[in-house]
């Protein structure tokens, strides 16, 4: 039996299929796909799920239950591409918990927002905080700043780890920080030191958000920013604990959670 999850983000769209072999369901298979988003979330959903189904050679009709999440999740359902739509918060919580049942806090930082989600011992959603009003502390901040220092979003974390003398960024606002970094870059500040300052500022914003719900062990980081080693290391230092890395690509956790919830809905119905 096949259960699907579709997560439309701001930059990428993901699809996950959980394959439950007939009979004894001991060994679940997980199939994943990620694409760059299209202007329309319905188009993105169609393309990413279509591509994944093609990869594994299965038709849409064989999907028992599909859950959509992320931007335009309601429209994806209205267009008949999913049976239900569930918030990103619930999906990230469910995905993280299914991969690692000891998880109690999920820090999810995507391209347009940052969320800190608290999960109970049974995987239930306890509380969450979200910032989607200000780019500081989201993936967008890292993206803007990477461009300012002339590097790739993916490379920023590795550059930061090479820093010998971290730059202290005084602006929180992405727009002001851009001017500040440019100013020091023109005066010969090293890209590595600036990258370290940028990662530190990012971690500061995430910590401010996390303090509002409280952090409990174990902590997992999901979303694209989880791939930034410097931000993760800085957060670990501030929290005084190791952050668990999901066994799947951190950007797939929302879609995986949607598929987990799809499977649960099917079983309960």
């Amino acid at each position: 039996m096949l259960f699907g999850g579709i997560d439309i983000g701001s930059l990428t769209a993901q699809a996950v299929i959980i394959e439950e072999p007939d009979g004894k369901s001991a060994r679940l298979k997980i199939h994943t796909k990620s694409i760059r988003v299209k202007p329309d979330p319905v188009e993105s959903a169609k393309e990413v799920m279509g591509a994944l189904l093609k990869d594994i050679g299965i038709n849409w009709e064989y999907m028992k239950y599909v859950v959509s999440t992320g931007y335009g999740r309601e429209r994806v359902q209205q267009e008949g591409l999913s049976h239900d739509n569930i918030s990103e918060i619930s999906c990230h919580g469910a995905g993280a918990f299914a991969l690692y049942p000891n998880v109690r806090t999920v820090i999810d930082i995507g391209g347009q927002d940052a969320k800190v989600i608290r999960v109970g011992p049974g995987g239930e959603l306890e509380n969450f905080v979200m910032n989607d009003k200000c780019a500081a502390g989201t993936g967008r901040f890292l993206e803007v700043m990477s461009k300012t220092i002339g590097t790739d979003y993916e490379k920023l974390g590795f550059l930061a780890l090479k820093s010998r003398n971290r730059f202290e960024l005084s602006s929180r606002c992405s727009i002001f920080a851009e001017n500040e970094v440019l100013h020091y870059l023109q005066r010969g500040a090293s890209v590595e030191d600036l990258a370290a300052g940028i990662s530190r500022s990012m971690a500061d914003r995430v910590m401010a958000l996390a303090r509002r719900v409280g952090v409990e062990r174990e902590v997992m980081m999901t979303g694209g920013v989880a791939k930034n080693v410097a931000v993760k290391a800085e957060l670990e230092k501030k929290l005084g604990l190791r952050i668990v890395s999901p066994s799947l690509d951190p950007q797939l956790i929302g879609a995986y959670g949607a598929a987990v919830l799809a499977r649960r809905s099917w079983r309960e119905s």
Partner: protein, 257 residues
């Protein structure tokens, strides 16, 4: 007595030369690289324009974000006090001066003597500032100086929902991709900025008359919208509003001497 006032702002430096009540000359230049050399050049410019020599100037006063970096025999003045002084001097009836600069929005409450009673400032977030306006207007493909004219052409205005400049920029770009006209987007932008400014100014509810200074106050499309949103009487600053703080610096220096 001839007094020279300078406002070394984050984005622009301004200089004014005052002889009693007469504004002899003024100069505005983008603050680039070295603040000192930028200030030197606008000082030479105001002197040259007015035919006044350096020796004729009795007092030199400086204010603004870059004022600490400026060397020489300058009197340093606080910029909130300068903005308030300029508002109170030229418009004795105003009870509040709202200043919209390159990187900040400041609402200053003043009493009948022109003294500062209280003020509120946002300089942590670019939302609603000159920089915000410049970035978003640029994203829509219209230079900020043409903003007021462009807004006139709006037919089906859109709403800018993001407060954050970075997110608002994406919003502007997606509106353009949807085929919305720049004029309609800029209408929404002006409305959004006016809303942000008015929200701060409303925190001083008792005020009846106010003025607006700072570079953004040059844009009529904005001041008229702020006026509509705030149910108070708007008095137009009699000089170029961008010179507000520089004029205030000169006025305070004159009083103190």
């Amino acid at each position: 007595m001839i007094v020279l006032g300078i406002d070394a702002g984050n984005l622009f430096s301004k200089a004014v030369l005052l002889d009693e009540d007469c504004l002899l000359s003024s100069s505005i230049s983008e603050t680039t690289g070295n603040v000192c050399s930028c200030v030197d050049s606008i000082v030479s410019e105001v002197l040259e324009k007015s035919g006044v020599t350096r020796e004729d100037v009795k007092l030199f006063a400086v204010t603004g974000g870059g004022s600490e970096l400026i060397e020489g025999l300058y009197l340093r003045e606080d910029d909130v006090l300068c903005i308030a002084a300029a508002g109170a001097y030229y418009l004795p009836d105003v009870e509040m001066v709202v200043d919209i600069g390159g990187q900040s929005i400041t609402s200053i409450l003043i009493d009948e003597d022109g003294d500062v009673v209280d003020f509120m400032r946002n300089d942590k977030c670019a939302s609603g500032s000159g920089r915000f306006l410049e970035i978003l207007s640029g994203a829509a493909g219209i230079p900020i100086k043409d903003l007021s004219n462009a807004v006139e052409l709006a037919e089906n205005p859109v709403k800018i929902r993001s407060q954050c400049g970075v997110f608002a920029e994406s919003e502007v770009i997606s509106y353009l991709n949807e085929g919305k006209k720049p004029a309609d987007i800029l209408w929404g932008l002006c409305d959004a900025v006016a809303g942000i400014v008015a929200a701060q100014a409303r925190r001083f509810p008792g005020v009846k008359k106010y003025t607006i200074t700072g570079g953004v106050a040059r844009i009529d499309a904005l001041t008229s919208r702020i006026e509509n949103k705030l149910e108070k009487e708007y008095l137009k600053f009699p000089h170029d509003p961008m010179l507000g703080a520089a004029l205030g610096a000169a006025l305070i220096a004159r009083l103190e001497s």
